[in-house]
Amino acid sequence: MNTKDQNITIDVAKEFSDTPYGRFSADGPFSGERFRNELLIPALDKYELVHIELSGTNKYGSSFLDAAFSGLLDCGFTEEEMNRRISYKHDLLPSIPEAIHSYIKKYSKLKTDKK
């Protein structure tokens, strides 16, 4: 039986960094890997729906976004589950949520093709 709480919002700029960059922890203190492992996965373990608030900063690199979100596909999550459980919003840059969806889709396809 699923006992998860209903939902939670993670504000990237406030709770993580307003200048996130890099793919792996070795790239710097605010990498996508660190965000995924320290904030995103624990939130997904505890809550059914996770909303990612991206609006606090405009400084996002593609490596960070790719590792933070499509990297979940390497941690046992599926594209379908991620689309159902995670939502994203940036007030000024709708291209950022679009880019995240595109990274997830591309990596999911790559993984399927490799099988």
């Binding site: 200048t19 960059y21 890099g22 793919r23 790239d27 710097g28 203190p29 405009n58 400084k59 996002y60 690199g61 593609s62 490596s63 000024l92 840059l93 291209s95 950022i96 591309k106 990596y107 790559l110």
Partner: protein, 359 residues
Amino acid sequence: MKKPTNNCLEYQDITIQKRTKRNLVSKEKAKKRRRNKTHGIKPSLHTNKIGMPGRTSVASPSHLQLSYDNNDLCSYIILWIRALKEKAAKKRIYIDFSQLVECDLASLLLLTSEVRQIQEEYGKDSIRCTVTGGNTFMTKVLKGSGIISLINDTKLHDWMNGWDMPIIHGDASGEKDFTTLTDYLLNTYLPDGIPEDERARVENLIYKAISEGILNVEQHAYDGSEKIPLDRKKWWCATFIFGGYFYLVLCDRGIGIPNHLPKSGLWEKLRKHIFNDDAQMIHAAMTLTRTSRDSFVGGYGTKDIQDLVAESESGNLLLFSNKGVYRLDNNDGEIKSSSYKLKASIDGTIISWKLALPK
């Protein structure tokens, strides 16, 4: 002494006139020959007439440009820059920039990295320069980039305070600060009163390009069999905004993309049986990994550096690595790539992006 007759004087006069004319024609022919060799570019002159005593004076070519369309010019500029170290090894040198009329960021970065290497190897006093008497605009560009202060070892003041087009450098050690440069560009080049969402799009593009570009250099350019300390993994960067485009140029003196391709498997087969030169290897590394997630096969995150162009509305990528040049163009969504082999190696990699500013 016998007084010369009028006939004799007339003969001497005619002879002098003929000799002068002959000399002028011969000088003009020599000049033409030199210019043909360098496609109209005034070559560098090596003379001791100007400059500082005790130093070999080296005049810069009239054009310092690593152009994609002109292999001869490109190779000429690379050889001129690389020859500085050989000269500095023998005697202290003095670069005269007075005949410089045009330059680009890629060649300025290559020159800056070479100057740094000369200073590290032979001491800061081993190289000096002058811009006196030169083109006013070029003087402003050279001073504004900080290269004059670097060469003359004068105090390197804060680049945010008065340099128009700063060349900054860093290495892989320590925490990264991409924000200072991003904010500097936004505050320097973007007009006041720009709509908030447009500013956000430009800010995102600049930060993404700078952070992805520099991280790629630090992670992959110097990777090799031998371990290199992080503070030796150096890069140089120049950037500005002009005419609706954001320009970013990065230079490293690493092992280059062709030398970084894996020595086993597919790449070794390609190297042995299909590709003969650096240009073909770079082109293959770029095109074969364009769709792959794990694209660090070329020593660079080859996909990441191309994505910036692909995601831009229009723009291009120009990549020089050792003896190869690769170009990727995005003309309103239509992506085209090409490459060619250089006659001289830059011993490193220069990547130049031109990206349309989002509206």
